[in-house]
Amino acid sequence: MSQPVIVARDLVKRYGEFAAVDGISFEVAPGESFGLLGPNGAGKSTTMRMVGAVSTRTAGDLTILGLDPDRFGPEIRSQLGVVPQADNLDTELRVRENLLVYGRYFGLPRKLVAERADELLAFAQLEDKGKAKVDSLSGGMKRRLTIARALVNDPRVLLLDEPTTGLDPQARHILWDRLFRLKEQGTTLLLTTHYMDEAEQLCDRLVVVDKGTIMAEGTPAALIRRYSSREVLEMRFGSDRNADVAGRLAGIGDRLEVLPDRILVYSENGEAELERITGAGLHPITSLVRRSSLEDVFLRLTGRSLIE
């Protein structure tokens, strides 16, 4: 196997006494799509900034493309495409101009940048928006423009910090489609998200991060196998009755999770569990059998739901 693109070992970032990242280790191979999954404040963005060579680590080892970001910041950044959590497109410039000025930062000739700008506008499905003002774009369009901008230097590694947060489902799917193409072309992706479905869609491998440390690591399927079950049965008995009913469900499924608004039964076969429960005379107001997801993994690992 070829050398990893990113190697982080015991990476720490402290702000004063507070450790935003508290000893994280991971490696990303060329062409791999690697995810950092975790709730707000987990330290995802801080990790991304260190990998992006814009923030100095407090302790630990970090190399990107075989280089130490403390010494070779510009060299590393010349090979990265960065999509920050908050868009920082220049709103004083037009859409296409944003690509033109950004391409120059990599020391690329104007002519080449102009060609790439047109290709990337097409890739981002913004061909007819080249002269538009940035502020006139929708959230999804801005995000696509930021991704286009991140590709202007033909990067080896693309860093995406919550690429689809705040987008409506349709915009999100368009974006996933674009990212999927990049992945197929062999671009290494490092992305953070707090959406489980996004991680399942885009990541070959991921780490679950909480409070600056890694809780688990693996492929989405492996994590689900290890920390959850094949299916999940969700039942609502009414918020005042959930706890009461839960007491009578002993022995049902592999495991139970009692949340304020619902009860989750982890099992190989959700339908079969539901039959046993109704057979015992318990009738949920609503019930739903679904595939187990990373959300369940997260819940299992931290006892908390991922999204707020």
Partner: protein, 299 residues
């Protein structure tokens, strides 16, 4: 801790000259090292290019301010007010020249300070905070110091264009008797940058604008004109008020411009002091602005 950080950032600057870095490097590493070369060398210029493009979006303002306001001032003060001043008090109080000749170089210097006031306040807040394009540059291969350098470079160019236009109008009005007059263009840019670099550094320290910038405009930029010998010589003030002028970059810049445009009589050492003061102020502001850029961008 800060020791460590300083040595790290010093190391980043030297990275290129370290031959061991190239040893045993894989292809990707070598590609990265090669691709870093242009940005390391020209990064500040790329930032300036970006700023020029932004300035182009307000070319109208730049040109109107660049030509319109000198026209207005030269005419109103140099021709209008001059008829009263020259007629009533004669040429003696302003050093033996007409009021127009006296006031024009001062207006040239103060125009550069006005540009500094525009370019080193809100655009800096924008770049760091409101529309953080500076973070975007830093996420590309640009170093924080180059962000500061590039912004200063772009504003220097705008000041130069502004001063050249202004100077041309001074020639039209017959306000430049001395052959050394064109040097006043350089002194005006230096004056604008001396004040501007310090202003930029100060603005860079602001996390939030809760009225500080308006205060700077009202209580620093505006009064500076009054105490810098712009409209009347500093010597009309009692001696204990004159130090306000001595610390004002605009006073030094104004006196310097007068030396160039009409040979205003002052000892040579004082001319040297004007230049030294402005250069020193610029250097302090520049170094400070770069430091803050590192602190804010590389967090």
């Amino acid at each position: 801790m800060s020791e460590v950080r300083r040595s790290r950032s010093a190391a980043e600057g030297d990275a290129y000259r370290d031959p061991s870095a190239m040893d045993a490097a894989s292809d990707v590493t070598r590609a990265a090292l090669a691709a870093g070369r242009n940005p390391r060398r020209w990064g500040a210029w790329y930032v300036a290019e970006h700023r020029f493009r932004v300035m182009r979006s307000y070319t109208g303002t730049v040109v109107v301010a660049g030509i319109g306001s000198p026209l207005l001032y030269l005419y109103a003060l140099g021709v209008g007010l001059a008829t009263i001043v020259d007629g009533s008090v004669g040429a003696e109080p302003v050093g033996g020249v007409s009021y127009l000749v006296f006031v024009a170089p001062a207006l040239l210097a103060s125009a550069a300070v006005t540009v500094a006031g525009e370019e080193f306040t809100y655009p800096i807040m924008l770049g760091y905070k409101w529309n953080p394009t500076f973070s975007g540059m830093h996420a590309a291969p640009i170093r924080p110091q180059q962000v500061a350098d590039g912004v200063i470079l772009s504003v220097a160019v705008r000041m130069l264009v502004n001063a050249v236009l202004f100077f041309a109008l001074m020639l039209v009005f017959g306000a430049v008797p001395a052959a050394t007059g064109f040097l006043a263009i350089a002194s005006a840019v230096l004056t604008g940058l001396a004040f501007g670099a310090v202003l930029m550094a100060y603005t860079s320290t602001l996390e939030e604008d809760t009225g500080q910038l308006a205060m700077v405009m009202r209580f620093v930029v505006l009064p500076m004109t009054l105490f810098s010998g712009t409209f009347f010589p500093l010597t009309v003030f009692p001696i204990w008020l004159q130090p306000i002028g001595w610390i004002s970059p605009l006073w030094h810049g104004t006196e310097l411009a007068r030396v160039f445009t009409y040979g205003y009589p002052e000892p040579i050492w004082l001319t040297v002091v004007h230049v030294a003061y402005l250069v020193a102020m610029f250097a302090v502001g520049w170094v400070w602005a770069r430091r803050i850029a590192v602190r804010r961008l590389r967090k």
